[in-house]
């Protein structure tokens, strides 16, 4: 177990290094940031001085080495466009994105799982057929279309929910939260629905097909023969056996929620990291782009690690047989 964790940690570190390398080198060739930073009237001398200050004249390996060492200390350099430390900019924007992602993930889970269980158990009822059909739409409609539709309905037509921004936020240390104000919650509703819809339908369909599979197994049949209640069978025995694949997908999807939030944040003008990234792309603001990509990769890798560890908690068969091999009797 311990050696497994260490092995996984090393793997994770390697993945992060590769990601850092890719994102760093990708953006290095994405365009000359100096052009965007200085005005038309800047002299050749100004430009050279700026290049020197940003370390753009150093050889590539040196620049990358500096990037990694700084990144490990949580430093990602100075934004070309905003002339402020990238880590500060990200720290400012992170709460908005994480709160949006959190609410979306919770929404997707607490709706997707019960709906999936329902559709798996009542496979032939018209409700589950309807849900399946609707969910197909959820899977196939692009996020921005959903967002715009919701804005049109609730903000333009009904005038009940705001179409942009976070509402009022409360500052707790460096964290700004929208959870403590009414307008904060109001502002969260449309973006989080938009962001969660795809995951919700995915989770629902996944849980449904896993449930169908599990309901056919002998141990469910035997659980029925033992007279267990439907609740115990459906949610105790069946659902638990669907959890391993569900956790895999959900884990991966929390990562993609963060990635997808770029679109949602753009549609709703949500002041998160995604929006920061989009602006950075427009200005070839390499430090921000590199930091953002590294961060997203970091989230992916950590979640993956967490998912693997969760398997152990759920499935006793994975706790490799130390005492067992000896204890096996026939």
């Amino acid at each position: 177990m311990v050696s497994y964790v260490i092995r996984r940690l090393l793997q994770a570190a390697l993945v992060m290094l590769v990601v850092a390398f890719v994102s760093f080198s990708l953006f290095r060739f994405a365009g000359d940031p100096v052009n965007n930073m200085v005005g038309q009237e800047a002299t050749q001398e100004d430009r050279r001085e700026l290049r020197e200050r940003l370390g753009l004249n150093d050889p590539f390996p040196v620049q990358f080495g500096r990037f990694v060492v700084d990144a490990l200390q949580g430093e990602f350099g100075i934004s070309y466009r905003l002339q402020r430390p990238v880590e500060d900019l990200i720290a400012e924007r992170m709460p908005a994105t994480l709160e949006l992602v959190l609410v979306s993930a919770v929404l997707a889970l607490i709706t997707g799982i019960p709906l999936g269980v329902y559709c798996g158990i009542h496979r032939d009822s018209w409700v589950s057929r309807a849900l399946l059909t609707v969910s197909l739409i959820g899977v196939s409609l692009p996020t921005f279309v959903i967002g715009i539709l919701l804005i049109y309905l609730f903000s333009v037509q009904m005038l009940v929910l705001p179409s942009f921004g976070r509402g009022e936020v409360v500052q707790i240390g460096w964290w700004s939260t929208g959870f403590l104000t009414f307008s904060g919650w109001q502002a969260l509703i449309l973006p989080s629905i938009t962001l969660s819809l795809f995951q919700l339908t995915l989770i629902m369909r996944l849980v449904r097909s896993e449930m169908l599979e599990v309901m056919r197994t002998d141990y469910i049949k035997f659980a029925r023969a033992r007279g267990l209640s439907n609740r115990a069978i459906n949610f105790g025995h069946a659902l638990k056996n669907t959890l391993v694949p569900v956790i895999t997908i959900v884990g991966l999807n929390i990562g993609s929620l963060i990635a997808f939030s770029i679109i949602t944040e753009t549609v709703f003008n949500w002041p998160g990291m995604g929006l920061l990234f989009i602006k950075a792309v427009q200005f070839a603001d390499v430090p921000i782009m590199a930091a953002y990509l590294t961060m997203v990769a970091f989230v992916f890798v950590s979640i993956n690690l967490l998912v693997d560890l969760l398997y152990y908690a759920i499935d006793p068969r994975l706790k490799v047989d130390r005492g067992t091999a000896a204890g096996r009797l026939s």
């Binding site: 023969a225 033992r226 204890g327």
Partner: protein, 349 residues
């Protein structure tokens, strides 16, 4: 056969599967009783309807399978038409079940202790502590060494034979009146089969539990059953006391099946005593379903379907025993025993 106080009565049970190409009748109008504490063996080739009969009794036919007509009574109470929730409380508590494959009967994600205690607590008022103590007790009773330690282990930590012992403990944990054991040893090593059957037999005798023991294995039947029902193409060909059926088979099919009684571990299936094979449900011949394979078939067999006729201590569905035809039981038995077609024609003519 009228029984004084049958525990289970099955009356004219019909199990159907509606399919796109018409309705299949998997169990076709069968009736039998099981007395308190009795072991009824049920034998027959694969597809004869043994499992469907068991599933119908415990109310676990899988849709689209359904009981199309007939009744199932437990201690005189009808149970085939109970609402789901009422029937659920009977399952496990009054009628237990053991299925074929112990490797897949247990939920891999829960310890066996947890699976035992949840069953016990579903049907009794025991506290978790009491239920756990009972679980340990049960594991000891089914012969699992070091039960205090094993109770917290998971199914994958047990061998096949040990898992079937756990399954037996689960089926017996609240002392049901009847156990339906559907080929409980088929999936096991031959060397372990006899142990498991002996265990099941001992426990059921000690607890006074009746058993409907479905098996291919004539050896198991000979050693375990009080009475035996022989099924063929969804119907009962013959039913009666085990000695009678084995030593003195009346139905031509049973007679072929019992030609020799192998030791435990041999399948009746694999005995090629009778040429031909059981018809599929889609093309069961008119009259007696056995007639294409029967050495003694005559005109009536191809026309009318025989019902169970009481003969000696049992019942047999074969036109040879139709007393209205003016043949004595002894003559009919002689015909079957002769195993020759010419003898039959004489009797018929």
């Amino acid at each position: 056969m009228a029984m004084a106080n049958p525990l289970l009565q099955v009356r004219n049970l019909v199990v159907e599967f509606p399919t796109r190409r018409g309705t299949l009748t998997a169990v076709d109008d069968i009736s039998f009783d099981i007395a308190e504490g009795e072991v009824l063996g049920v034998v027959g080739e694969s597809g004869a309807g043994k499992s469907m009969t068991g599933a119908a009794v415990i109310g676990l036919l899988e849709p689209p399978g359904r009981i199309a007509s007939g009744e199932v009574l437990l201690e005189g109470r009808r149970i085939d038409n109970l609402p789901y929730e009422k029937m659920r409380r009977i399952r496990g508590k009054e009628i237990g079940a053991i299925f074929q494959d112990p490797l897949t009967s247990l939920n891999p994600l829960y310890s066996i202790g947890r699976q035992l205690t949840e069953t016990i607590m579903t049907h009794t008022d025991m506290t978790p502590t009491q239920a756990r103590a009972r679980a340990v007790e049960l594991l000891a009773e089914v012969g699992i060494p070091a039960p205090e330690r094993r109770v917290d282990q998971y199914p994958h930590q047990f061998s096949g034979g040990m898992r079937q012992r756990v399954v037996i403990a689960l089926a017996l944990c609240v002392n049901p009146r009847l156990i339906i054991a559907d080929e409980p040893t088929t999936a096991l090593d031959v060397s372990i089969q006899a142990q498991i059957i002996a265990l099941l037999k001992r426990l059921c005798r000690e607890h006074g539990t009746a058993v409907m023991l479905v098996t291919h294995d004539m050896g198991v039947i000979a050693e375990t059953a009080d009475r035996v029902a022989v099924m063929y193409a969804g119907r009962i060909a013959e039913i009666g006391p085990v000695r009678e059926v084995i030593k003195n088979a009346k139905h031509p099919y049973t007679h072929g099946l019992m030609g020799s009684i192998p030791a435990i571990g041999h399948d009746a299936d694999r005995l090629e005593q009778i040429p031909g094979s059981m018809p599929r449900l889609t093309d069961i011949p008119p009259g007696c379903a056995f007639n294409p394979r029967c050495l003694h078939a005559f005109d009536r067999c191809r026309r009318d379907r025989p019902e169970l006729i009481a003969v000696d201590d049992g019942q047999v569905s074969c036109w040879l025993y139709d007393t209205a035809a003016g043949r004595t039981t002894a003559e009919a038995k002689a015909i079957v025993a002769s195993r020759s077609g010419t003898a039959m024609e004489r009797a018929d003519g």
